[in-house]
Amino acid sequence: MPSIATIALIPLLPFAGFVLLGIFGRTALKKPAGYLGTALMLASCILALYTAYGYFFDFGKIHGAYQKLVPFQMTWLEFSKDVSINIGFILDPLSAMMLVVVTFISLMVHIYSLSYMKGEERFGTYYAFLGLFTFSMLGLVLSSNIFQIYIFWELVGVSSFLLIGFYYDKPSAVAACKKAFIVTRFADLGFLIGILVLSYYGGTLDFGTLIARLTDPSSTQMQAAVNASFLGASALTWGAVLVFIGGAGKSAMFPLHIWLPDAMEGPTPVSALIHAATMVVAGVYLVARLFPVFAISVPGALHVVAYIGVVSAMIAAVIACTQTDIKRVLAYSTMSQIGFMMFALGVSGYGGEAGLGYSASLFHLFTHAMFKALLFLGAGSVIHFVHSNEMKDMGGLRKLMPVTHITFLIACLAIAGVPPFAGFFSKEEILLAASRGNTGIYYMALITSGLTAFYMFRLYFRIFWNKEAGHDAHHGKEGGFALLFPLVLLALCAAGAGFIPFGEYVSSDGTPLHSEFDPVFSIAPVALGVAGILLASWFYLRANDRADRVAASLKGLYTAAYNKFYIDELYLFITKKVLFNLVGRPAAWIDRNIVDGAVNLVGNETVAFSKLIKKLQSGKVQQYAIVFLGGVLVLAVLFIYIWH
């Protein structure tokens, strides 16, 4: 088992990068910022691989099952004797796998950015932010305490905010980063209340104890949690659903997904890292982390997860078919794929064969990270080349950028589920789990995977084929080594990662899950995928107006999908019209006019009263004298005749 320092260094090295570059990145370390950040990331990645390797093949497995290890824990903030926020590391298959994913993708993005962000004025700051994000994400996956997750959850959110808003002088970027933060913050509110509920009934914030208590039907905590009910559901269900809302916000699940497409305002490598491969799967990670509670104690909440997941997957796929900004297409595709992971968790059971969905979900998370990062980096390379995000500015780039073209194609094949690329295996498992768990979801998923193939190849054809080389020579040539190396490496992973026997290592209860490959089952999804590709090629391989004609014939649906089903407008209506105008403005008005008005009224009334009585003090001596004389007379009469 590696020493605590080794594990601690995995997140702390990027953090050191953040601190150093954050303070000196504008001045002393401006030039070497990229290399410094990348070197630290490389070291962190090696340590992570070493730790994960050690966990999976050396010390992690005891009695045939992978154990949850907590090598280090310290009290960070104590609430009461039992309840405290502890900062610690947890090592289990889930976190070990995530360590690898996060550090690896982050390293790729670091390398890629050396070239992509070159010449940027705030180059050092960029690497500082990347360091902060990687640190937070690693802290998140290593969390041993539910509150620790929340802490890093928020930090991830803020680093995402910083990176989306990196080009802060662009108003659209500012709007996007605000939107991303606020929407996820709203979801975090659910998460926070969920934590409060779970910790109250569980009597602890520690994952191990919490899960143990809340999955054991005989424990007092569990009984209390099940018996306490609110609005017809048990407290435990509420807690689990609320926590899931937090996860749904971060993972851009319907209806909290609206921030993700806008988040594409950030630099493209950032989108690859945060909004494709790592941060957005935090929600999946969170549900997976609490999976025993969901699966054993509150199956109702798990159904919510499943339906939200599949609905998101489907809606996102439909919208993705109509978008013209390539990064937005990828964003919706990300949302759709995360939907896959979510419903895979949702249809899964706990332990043994029933836990297939769990393994499949995380397997998909793993492969998706590879090919989606690749897609984004490839898209970045294209954007770098043509200086535009719009499809109409592209076309026929396959000869101009051969490496990008090939790697992008591999990624598209992977996401479309064409064997033997990585996506095929993970998606097969998900569909298999869905078909076993819930047929309705299975058919929806099947359609969605067909749509996935269609929109991905629409993207591919429109970038690399379609019009023939309508570009001038001024675009220069494809990027250099730093730009292409990550593409190639990721392409290799996207092509080969599917052959990892994932269930052996990562399963719901730690015992290896042997999944057998069933060729008969695969016929339908693969056929659908191929059909999607063929359809896309019919529409987009050559420049023609077939697509437009179809779009025109489906006008209503097309327009709705193109406008993302008006969900943004709905939110805008709620926030601008309802919250601002109906709550905020009246609150401000009431404060100024009624509450403060009351204070001023008291003041003014006092002044008015004093104005009234000050007339007695007229300054006229004779008036005083008369009053004085009258007073003397009255007192004299009183004293002489009445009170003598």
Binding site: I151, C177, I182, G584, A588, D591, V599
Partner: protein
Amino acid sequence: MNLLYLIGLPVLTAAALLLARSKEQVRWISFAGSVAQLALALALYFAFRQERAAGNTAAMLFDQTWPLFKSLHINFHVGVDGISVAMILLTSFVVVSGVLVSLNIEKMTKEFYFLLILLSLGAYGFFISLDLFVLFFFLEIAVIPKYLLIGIWGSGKKEYSANKLALMLMGGSALVLVGLLGLYYASHGGTFDLMELSHLGIPADTQRILFPLLFVGFGVFTALFPLHTWVPDGHSSAPTAGSMFLAGISMKLGGYGCLRVAVFLLPVGAKEYANIIIVLSSIAILYGAFATMMQKDLKYINAYSSVSHVGFSLLGIGMLTHTALTGAVLQMVSHGLMTALFFAVIGMVYDRTHTRMVNDLGGLMKMMPFIGTIFFIVGLCSLGLPGLSGFVAEMTVFMGSWENADLFHRIATITACMSIVVTAVYILRAVGKVMMGPVTNPVYLTLKDANWNEKLAAVILLAGILAIGLAPFWLNDLVRPATETIAHQILQVTK
């Protein structure tokens, strides 16, 4: 550790200021004096820890008594527990940075610093006194300088604001005074001593009358809804250091008083009025946050957000559980540092651009990365980002509040939690408008970043925020035993 140093030092500084001959001397004397205060506060903290580590479990440490009016049993009694130490630390941090950011004051420099030092004297005295008479004395010392600071060095409708602030605070003090006298006579023996009073067991009927007096009286100081309206006006009119002191120190006097006098001495009253406090503070939290959303002036934004944030500490007090009380204290410290820093940054922006209107500003990050970064960090602290102090305090309050299992407390807690979203909205709006986006005015392109004193001031406060945010355990360990004493008082009532 002799607590009298804490009083003696500001007095000496003030005396030295009176003798100073030039503005330069005045500045350096105040700076040296405030740094000495900081050193003293840190020394007190370490001495306190040492004493506790040595096993001294007395409720109040370092206590000393001198008779003041023998026949009335009024003593000059001082002593500190964890809460006081935390507050003293907070005060010293704010004083140093307040002095630093106002080094550019040219108008009546000597008087300005004299008042600042006087205010700090009032605060230190207030936090260490264990005799209610002395406590009230120092409370009043802290009020007058505020009036003058706003009235003389303020901006905007400063006379109105100064009057409003002084009158409302004086009104609060009047209630406090009545309450204190009530306590004095309720104690039969006639004593103002805090610790003696806490053992007396004042009859429930008396508590029922006295508690609202004391709580509302101190509540005015700490912006208890709906008596908070001096906050926006006062803060926005005050000079930068004035706002910092006002929000960072003076509002904490009220919170401390609520906790130390009202709740600690009158647990029965606290128990009976707790629900009202909770309702008021939940309203304040959410309503303050919504009201902030609509503000256009940066200082108003921070002032309303203060109302909202201070609501958390009042909520913690109203919840009456040990954790919630701890959270209330943490929130006071955290909010003090945070809001002082926020006002400091707003002052820096204002000094350069001569406007505080959000809509007029834009894109300042480019010209002043340091100020922009601090502005952003303090905004994040305000919206409760982990790693900064606000998170620690708010979460402690939430956890403590959640320990009350009934629906009423639950709803109040959730209401309070909702403010974290609204806070994010207004903070990001401010940050997005002021620091990010395109530069709205070409004049701004020539603006300079912070100079050394402003940087130092910001860094000092930021150090405090980070020290709490990254490693809250030291503060928690300091405060928890002290709040346990108070929670114990309440617990006894329940039994």
